[in-house]
């Protein structure tokens, strides 16, 4: 208001004395005025975000769970060119930072997103860009792997959103209370998963009256699947009845963004879904439908000692790239003319077929990156 008042009095005084000079003085206030207004707006938006987050946290502590509720912001999100925005962000963060500025930039990032700089493997000056810094490795020994041979470990740093047991081929995972998505839509049409679900169904329903039709159906799909995965058929058909489980882990921008192997396993197939790049924060999970199924993601699927194993790495607006160390040539978040939701994923079966790429528990598998 101070600026507006100044502006008004100066322009009035100017007008009375000489017309031309009042314009130039008005212009002089334009830039500072706009700057202050922009800073004020950003401040208000940030304060509102903090207030919303506080409310959500308090509700969660009271045990109140928010339900799925699309809103105008989610609708607006659908209209934005998020993939292009993400690529521009990747371009900007890939710009080289002057050496003298690097510690300041990366410390500011760490302060803003609660990253632990002590764990970075290299001195801060060695990271040429913010993108390099973001995908940094950690010092040796920072992430010891649980020594228990009968444990399955976390592949990433993050927050546990959901976990539990899945039932049958049409199994659903809850995105948020009131909305779920199917495992098959997340992982893609997986003969392996279908084989396991049918085998489980077969085991459970072996005494049921529909035994003959069930057996017929299973036999047919067995044939189709075993043609595709002859070696795998023996492994799955012989193992005793297993449970099928899931776990969803959210990575904050400040988290360590490399993905490690949760067990010793053979990666047989890789599926790359080109998709949207909605944000994946808590608000988006409550307001955007099919968030994990629509977003760009890479799925690695294979077998471990106990049977089926799949990891789906799902990108977001600011972190749209997924880099596979076992397949460095794969590129995600590429410009696409048209993005069809029903478009099948680009799939690759790793050689040798039925054996694939062997990974040990704790091995680095992939990394998320900006843009």
């Amino acid at each position: 208001s101070w600026y507006v008042k100044q502006f008004r009095t100066t322009s009035q005084a100017g007008a009375s004395v000489s017309g031309g000079s009042s314009n130039s003085q008005g212009n002089a206030f334009l830039v500072p005025g706009a700057t202050v207004a922009t800073l004020l707006m950003l401040g208000v938006l940030h304060a509102r975000r903090l207030y919303d987050d506080k409310k959500v946290e308090e509700a969660r502590e009271k045990g109140i769970e928010f339900e799925f509720q699309p809103d105008a912001k989610a609708t607006f999100m659908r209209m934005l060119p998020l993939r292009s925005i993400s690529r521009v962000w990747g371009f900007l963060t890939n710009l080289e930072v002057p050496v003298w500025l690097r510690p300041h930039v990366y410390r500011a990032w760490a302060r803003a997103f609660h990253s632990n700089l002590e764990e970075a493997a290299l001195p801060l000056n060695d990271y040429a860009s913010l993108r390099d810094f973001f995908v940094r490795t950690l010092r040796e020994g920072c992430r010891p792997v649980d020594p228990d041979p009968y444990s399955l470990v976390s592949p990433v740093d993050g927050t546990i959103l959901r976990f539990g047991e899945l039932k049958g081929a049409g199994a659903m995972i809850e995105q948020v209370k009131g909305f779920s998505y199917s495992v098959s839509s997340l992982l893609g049409a997986s003969p392996l998963l279908q084989m396991i679900a049918e085998k489980n169904t077969q085991d459970e329903s072996i005494n049921s009256e529909q035994e003959s039709t069930q057996r017929e159906k299973s036999k047919k799909s067995w044939w189709r699947i075993s043609l595709a995965y002859p070696k795998v058929r023996e492994t799955v058909s012989e193992c005793p009845m297993k449970g099928l489980y899931y776990c969803v882990i959210y990575l904050k921008p400040g988290d360590y963004h490399r993905i490690h192997s949760p067990v010793d396993w053979n990666v047989l197939v890789r599926r790359h879904f080109s998709g949207r790049l909605f944000p994946l924060n808590e608000r988006a999970t409550r307001t955007i439908r099919n968030l994990y199924v629509e977003n760009e993601r890479v799925v690695l699927e294979g077998l471990w000692q106990q049977g089926f194993m799949a990891i789906a790495a799902i990108g977001a607006t600011n972190i749209g790239s997924i880099e596979l160390f076992i397949e460095p040539e794969l590129q995600t978040n590429r410009p696409r003319k048209k993005l069809l939701h029903s478009e099948p994923p680009e799939e690759r079966v790793y050689e040798p077929e039925g054996v694939g790429v062997m990974l040990n528990k704790g091995d680095e598998v992939a990394a998320f990156n900006m843009g």
């Binding site: 792997v145 649980d146 899945l166 297993k242 882990i249 106990q306 790495a313």
Partner: protein
Amino acid sequence: STVVLVFQAPPSKPSKNNDASEFRFSIRRGDRIRVGEALGRWHDS
């Protein structure tokens, strides 16, 4: 970004032959977890 893990493991409810190796998660919703920390365990029967 988000990672979803889908995997088979010994059933959490003992199956007919009382297989004692059932898998159990060792986490809670909202927990902070790090690479290498156990998500769950089972026992070899």
